[in-house]
Amino acid sequence: MNAEDLVQAVKGRFPQAVLASHSYRGDATVVLRRDSLLEVARTLKEDAAFQMSFLMDVTAVDFSSFGKKRSPAFFTSSGVAVSPSPQIPDREPWPGPPGASSSRFAVVYHLFSLPLKHRLRLEVPVEERDAEVDSLSALWGSADWLEREVWDMFGIRFRGHQNLKRILMYEEFVGHPLRKDYAVNKRQPLIGPVN
């Protein structure tokens, strides 16, 4: 299935679960309600029409400072602009950031079907106060470590995960470094001075 058909198929199967969808430059994305994630994911894995055998990545986005300040140009010294040139035709403009009323976090799942060779991205909005989603580690083994990474970096818990502990940082580390309110150079050394 191509991206648009995939989005339509998921929408037709779960009209209640899909909050929004788009297929930007051939990449299908479906925004799901949090409480229906497990059901949709199981169908995507086991249904013959989808056969999403491979969970390629689980990650998260912190939107808390998104769009609130201009991002610095990366190559300021050379004067190379980071924003795309207006001369480049853009038939499929980026759908844009989520609305102002949206949740702080989004957990993002990248699925791939090895037999059918199609991809689908799932986004699940997560509130800051109740940062918890269902674990997919019972469906895909790869979710085990990927969800631990999301917990480590963003502090989003995964309900039903058997071993939800830090994977990149050390146990003594306080906080979750990829949250936008964690100062990027706040260091917590195990030995040596705090520098």
Binding site: M169, N185, G192
Partner: protein, 166 residues
Amino acid sequence: MSGDTGFLTSRLEEAIGWARKFSIFQYPFVTACCGMEYMATACSHYDVDRFGAGLPRFSPRQADVLFVVGTISHKMAPVMKRIYDQMADPKWVVAFGVCTCTGGFYDNYATVMGIDTIIPVDVYIPGCPPRPEYVLDGLLKLQAKIEAQHASGQRPAPESRPEFVR
């Protein structure tokens, strides 16, 4: 101290220094991309064996020089300290690459801002990564330092921390 050492003792120290500087058994503590440049230096084209440093030992008990090659994270720092502590005296430390010297361009939550905050460093080889010629130059500086060191363990003053513009 060197003033009251006799003729024989000072000759002996010179001989020991000469022998030591050509038998550098290094422990390559390779954590990141600098390791590729380290391998290029160690291989036949640049041939680090010319300086007697061609035998890396993968046990700290058998090594004289700790080559810290690549970024050290705060999670890795205790391991590096332990390796350093396990090495027998006399021992030296080379900071290979700018990440080990100062943290390099990593100004973030994960990276140690220079390994000299944790262990003493004898020679700094900055560069991202340093070219093999630069590494050989650092090795020659280390040899000079080893040669000048007294058998009693008294060593020249440590190199001051290099200043980098942040």
